[in-house]
Symmetry: C2
Subunit: 427 residues, 2 copies
Amino acid sequence: MADHELKVQLLLTGNEIMSGDTVDSNSALIARRLAELAITVHRKVTVGDDIELLQAELAAMADDADLLIVNGGLGPTIDDLTAEVLARVTGVDTEEHPRALAHLQDWCGRRRLTLNAANRKQAMLPAGADIIDNPIGSAVGFEMMVGKCRVICTPGVPGELAAMLDIIIADLARRTERPLERSILRLQTFGLGESTAQQMISDGIGDWPGEVELGFRAGAPQMEIKLSINSAGAMAARQRCREQLEQLFGDHIIGEGDMTLAARVLDLLRERGATLTTAESCTGGLIASMLTRIPGSSDSFHAGFVTYANSIKHAVLGVDEQVLAREGAVSEPVVRQMALGAMERSGADYAIAVSGIAGPDGGTPDKPVGTVWLAWGSRDELHSCCLRWPVERTLFQTMVAAAGLDMIRRVLLGLDTEPRYFSQRRV
Amino acid sequence: MADHELKVQLLLTGNEIMSGDTVDSNSALIARRLAELAITVHRKVTVGDDIELLQAELAAMADDADLLIVNGGLGPTIDDLTAEVLARVTGVDTEEHPRALAHLQDWCGRRRLTLNAANRKQAMLPAGADIIDNPIGSAVGFEMMVGKCRVICTPGVPGELAAMLDIIIADLARRTERPLERSILRLQTFGLGESTAQQMISDGIGDWPGEVELGFRAGAPQMEIKLSINSAGAMAARQRCREQLEQLFGDHIIGEGDMTLAARVLDLLRERGATLTTAESCTGGLIASMLTRIPGSSDSFHAGFVTYANSIKHAVLGVDEQVLAREGAVSEPVVRQMALGAMERSGADYAIAVSGIAGPDGGTPDKPVGTVWLAWGSRDELHSCCLRWPVERTLFQTMVAAAGLDMIRRVLLGLDTEPRYFSQRRV
């Protein structure tokens, strides 16, 4: 079978997806992973946990596709129907698979749980199905042929799906004889919007090669730029594109792949043998949390302070009470004193301090919701500025936390350029 | 037409959704809005911007459904195909609709834009289609009958869709004579797994009524239990189910709707005029961040401490250095001193303190990765315990942070029962 003829469909199941209680991100993940092999998804169908509907849909899709990936319905509850449905469509019974049972026993054992009847149901699979390991969760995946279509059944829990996709994609690369070199290069940026980036590329790069597909994924706080190629022959062209993008976006590029601002900052601190502390008001611990999610963060991050109330800014960080009263908590002298106080209390070399108005309440005509003062740097070289990010509370917290990390990244890299977002956000 | 017979399907179009570059949240929004009328979505199909594929799909779906909502493909670019596809399926031509054109002229005028050819394309609609206003964007929606199926075409831009859905849902409520009451009850729980909950219900509630549909959504850290009914007549049955669930799960139920542990704790603190502080080691600011995401958290949460390093536990919270050296950071006396120190430094009435090993490194035979000491309560009544949660780092942080909040919730409620997860997790 020629690669480009592979017709792939997705069948998603789950009442929580149909009801809209859960936004389906699994199908996007599957599509992005398949894209690494230059495989595109042709069609996607979603139905609730209804056995008749699932059966009709699975049979029709398997009839039409070469590869059908089913997602969801592998769990222990009565509304998890995928194994039963696949058994019906292929005309076999479900039976207890020894390897699936062993996996379940091992999984429960490591968690000191007793294997109950509900769990045990997850080992009941269609007779003749091949098992796909689940490196994280209790339910194994499985696959079998339905006519000429290969049907792969995967778990709905996103982390479990992601882990299992590593196995499935590697296997698919082998079967379809596609090179498992990554055909996709992802660059992580902070401080660029999608339309700005698009416009800068249109204006700045006249001769974009046709064999390199350009994509954007705008997230919060980062935006990903994606360069995809369909053949190894396009590698050189992609490398040229990358160099042009690096020239265009410069220090707005944080790194490659899954790099985050927090991980980059921790890497830079580790290289320099330096430590960082945080003094957070409006971000309320989010900067500390972004740092400490990363394994090994304890090397460079020893202490963080969440000083929400004015009295605490004084008592814990030593911010001058008269300055607080005169200038207000959202002010340059306060945020600078917070940074200095945090460095003094913790002994850290660098600090990020933020104080702002996350909303929805608390704004004034002078300092509306979305206003934030940041201070960052070392005792000897402490910077500060006021930005305005008039967005919803949690998005505001996310963007401000990221901006603080970005500014420390710039200090650690010795950059003296201002990021582009300063020109839009600066008050 | 009787209410429960309304068969609704969704057709989504867009290459960016198929490729996984955009996660589709529109279909979840549509489903949630329909749920307000106790209308459930039966089936959902997603395809790329391919005219043949769209035409075949739309025709087949309209043949099967009573109501088909199409989302996407209304924009100005050549890959926006919905109007053309609907015209083909109904066998009419597209023509310029005066009302759609007037809307576009007005929209451009207010933005001081000239109406260009690309924009003008958005007024070309199937002959005979009825227009649905777009309160925000340039492209109007439209609807027409395809055989016995009502087909409604909506924009892919989320904000525009949301605004248009207000109109569509109000119209649908009128047509179907449904009261605009919610048919879905959601209960939030912490400390129960999906399989445990399912097993407890199977064992504990023998006579579950057929007209109340039971669903679970296992998230991290909370699990949602959902009770859905399709007619107002089932209200009483649902209420009985709710009471049975409350008896069964008791204080593992945090609240209704979108209630979170952090919001519940903040509500309880506010009712009592009390304040809370946090002393976090392995959760690294996550508890503080969960609290401060909630608007108004500053009423009851004034200060949090992230004390990652031992030296900081001593310097900032006054933990005894000899105790640290003798017992180690992950120990009962240390976590109790952290809680007391945080209350003393902040003046708060209650504290949560955690110290554990999030991994992947740092475990020992005595204290493997996943071990955590928690302390919670007030100066007068401080509790502590050691739990083991041997899961991946960020999930460990999430579950431990939630457990801390859950224990404070229990103290504030005056509960003296132990949560079920203690029996499994306690070391």
